[in-house]
Amino acid sequence: MDDFDEFDGDGPEVVKRFMYVNRRAPYGTVYALECLETILIAAAFEQDVSVVFMDDGVYQLKKDQDTAAIGMKNFSPTYRALEGYEVEKLYVEKESLEERGLTAEDLVVPVKVLNSAELQEIMAAQDVVLSS
């Protein structure tokens, strides 16, 4: 049975607080998709992961994305898998959302909407902050 403990049991030796800050639109560059994959890997290693969406990054979570015309895979359903990876701290910057005429209801996953000052506070408490 020892062989199986790696997946069932004790968890990782070191857990760091990783925050991923998404600031760009989902398509046109590879940043959003690459960041999402990085998040899944950090989560697979059972790290303490939180994710921020601000500026055009809020569009990554927009419902009803249709990518047929640009010939790219619509990867927005993958954000809904984050819960299964135990990534549940998803923050959206209030100002960015409002500037774009969006509300939390327009997004594919439940998020916490925070203003810039509140985000700053959470950001300051991280071990690692990665922006893309």
Binding site: F4, F7, D8, F75, P77, A81
Partner: protein, 110 residues
């Protein structure tokens, strides 16, 4: 590498994951399984089908821990545990079952 199926060559990467998911079908799955020395039973198919549904919904192949948890949630704890899944797929449920299901290698695969 590649698989020969019905006189057609199906392209795969160096580890045997097919590169075009839309070319997958059940016969091809049996062929990939043979290559992995797995004799597909109903229990194997249950996991493979579960993975295909997961991919359909989330557009990714799950890491093994996530797969185990998701199976536990929908099929119960007697199937959603590492021992059961490794008995079916000795080289790793996520790795081998994903390959047979025609999915890419799991993201965050350890």
């Amino acid at each position: 590498m590649s698989y020969m199926y019905n006189g057609t060559e199906i392209a795969a990467d160096e580890e045997g994951y097919i590169t075009e998911i839309s070319l997958w079908n059940k016969d091809l799955a049996e062929l990939i399984a043979q290559d992995e020395n797995i004799d597909m039973s109903d229990d194997h198919w249950e996991v493979v089908n579960f993975l295909r549904n997961y991919y359909e919904e989330y557009q990714i192949a799950p890491a093994v821990r996530v797969l185990t948890k998701a199976i536990k949630k929908s099929l119960g704890p007697e199937k959603g545990n590492s021992k059961y899944l490794y008995e079916l797929f000795p080289y790793g449920p996520a790795k081998q079952a994903c390959k047979i299901a025609g999915l890419p290698k799991p993201t965050g695969c350890i």
